[in-house]
Amino acid sequence: MAEEVNFICTACPQGCALTVLMENGEVLGVTGNSCKKGLDYANAETSDPRRMVATTVKIRNGFHPLLPVYTERPVPKPMIPQVLAEIRKVELEAPVVMKTVVLENVLGTGINVLASRSMPAKK
């Protein structure tokens, strides 16, 4: 039997309210979206929900004590706690340049963790 699932699309800041018609885990149709991203989002959210993760890591001798970092692509939602735990283990030495890979292929996801900004060394 088909069922309706309601989502808020997070693909962009517009935040469309999607209604997804589903049967046996299959998406039959989507309404409420304003663009194609909404369809993709609905498909992904029902099969493999993913999120961008942004946090910080320790950096020695930096202008600030922490370096902000982010995943270059969204990671599977259920893996977020483990991803955070992995990132927490990282400790860097300043200087670091923006978009440097600070953690490669985190937990085998094929996704790198990048520096969100450059961090000069302490003056």
């Binding site: 962009c12 935040g15 309210a17 942004a54 600030h64 922490l66 969100s116």
Partner: protein, 425 residues
């Protein structure tokens, strides 16, 4: 030291609005552009907004705040914009004089042909929403907590309640959860979310943080440090609903109850503010009621997306450059007339060169002392003599006249100033 005393465009604040204004001012032809930042580095509040979601409109890339800031800062620096860090602008006059204070440069006055105000906004505080109770520690605006957690590296709480469903509040709920704190819930007095709905999904629902609409805080408990808050449901007129009170133990209360454009400086400069936006009244070029003073970004009204702040900055920067260039050209049309040796004053004080192209101009002056012998009244540009006139003597009681002829135009046009000396023959 500062490179200049007078700048084409001075920008106050190096958040996304200010940086965009600096970029576009340079691109539009302004020569000396100065950006002033009170903090230790460029970028403004974006530096502590480490979450993603910036740049989708403008850069077609999903960047964290610091990355978005750096993208534009690098472009700005490549255009040779002058930067002042750790510097607070204390005062701006309607004549566009600025008073700056810093450890490194001291307390200085500079002048700008145009100014872009880009001070951003500040967070509404507890008092502005008038929560009664004790005044313990542990009540912070979401932005203050964000700076501690993300930049300075300290946690301001373990058990947290957030009042207000603004974006920074929801984002901090997720952030604190990531760093091991427990966010008990988010309370919102209105019947609807005040931030973006994507943040409800990504920041609260994903981490099972409850949001209670139509709820607020009745009082705060704890004398030295927050020990609990009393939450209460409200009706549509925001009156407390009796019997719905609930004591929620916590050590920290974060406030995400709105942002207000920061316009103390604007007021000093004589800029008129709209009581609804709390920002300046602006025209389509982002010029305020004070000629030559522009405003861009959250200082005008609070935006939901940084991309639009940058866009506003581009417009304001371009307009400010245009204004400054027009003013500079007007200044360049004139040549000052300077009283030189033995001359007390000269009228006129300055000369519009284009006038001399069409007609002769009479210069009149008085001398400082009698010279009872033949003299030359000489007009020169510092190096070359342009014209001179002989007199048998000069006396303070008798006005001296010399005429610049249209044939002198070519020489005068090249001069940065004209000096009149009276020398014995």
């Amino acid at each position: 030291m500062l490179a200049k005393q007078i700048y084409d465009v001075v920008i106050v604040g190096s958040g996304p609005g200010g940086v965009a204004a600096a970029i576009e001012a340079k691109k539009a032809g302004a020569d000396d552009v100065l950006i002033i930042e009170r903090d230790t580095e460029l970028g403004g509040i974006l530096l502590q907004c480490i979450h993603n979601g910036f740049g989708l409109e403008l850069l077609k890339e999903d960047l964290p705040g610091p990355g978005y800031a750096q993208h534009f800062i690098e472009e700005m620096l490549s255009l040779h914009v002058e930067v002042l860090l750790n510097t607070m602008v204390m005062d701006i006059t309607p004549q566009r004089h600025l008073f700056l204070s810093s450890k490194e440069h001291g307390y200085v006055e500079i002048e700008a042909r145009s100014i872009v105000l880009a001070m951003g906004c500040r967070e509404r505080t507890r008092a502005q929403i008038r929560i009664p109770g004790y005044r313990p520690n542990g009540i912070y605006t979401a932005g203050t907590a964000q700076r501690w957690v993300n930049v300075e590296g300290y946690m301001p709480g373990k058990e947290v309640v957030i009042l207000g469903s603004g974006d920074i509040g929801m984002i901090m709920a997720r952030r604190l959860t990531f760093e091991g704190a427990h966010v008990e819930r988010v309370l919102e007095i209105q019947s609807y979310l005040s931030g973006l709905s994507r943040n409800l999904v990504q920041c609260l629902q994903d981490y099972d943080i409850p949001l209670q609409l139509n709820h607020t805080i009745k009082r705060i408990l704890g004398k030295n440090r927050v020990e609990a808050i009393e939450a209460v449901q409200v009706d549509e007129k925001w009156n407390f609903v009796p019997g719905t009170e609930e004591i929620i133990p916590c050590d920290t209360l974060l406030l995400s109850v709105g942002l207000i454009p920061e316009n103390e400086l604007s007021r000093k400069a004589g800029v008129k503010l709209d009581p609804i936006t709390s920002g300046p009244y602006v025209d389509e070029t982002f010029q305020t009621n004070v000629p030559g003073i522009f405003a861009a970004g959250n200082v005008v009204h609070v935006y939901d997306l940084v991309d639009w702040v940058s866009e506003a900055g581009f417009s304001a920067g371009k307009s400010a450059a245009k204004y400054a260039i027009a003013l500079r050209n007007a200044e360049a049309r004139y040549t000052p007339l300077v009283a030189g040796k033995n001359v007390r004053y000269v009228v006129p004080h300055k000369l519009d060169k284009s006038t001399l192209e069409a007609e002769d101009v009479r210069l009149q002056m008085r001398v400082t002392r009698p010279i009872e012998q033949p003299v030359w009244v000489e007009v020169h540009d510092g190096e070359n003599l342009i014209t001179r006139k002989a007199e048998r003597y000069v006396r303070p009681g008798e006005m001296v006249t010399v005429v610049l002829k249209t044939k002198n135009y070519a020489d005068v046009a090249k001069a940065s100033k004209l000096t009149i000396d009276i020398n014995p023959r």
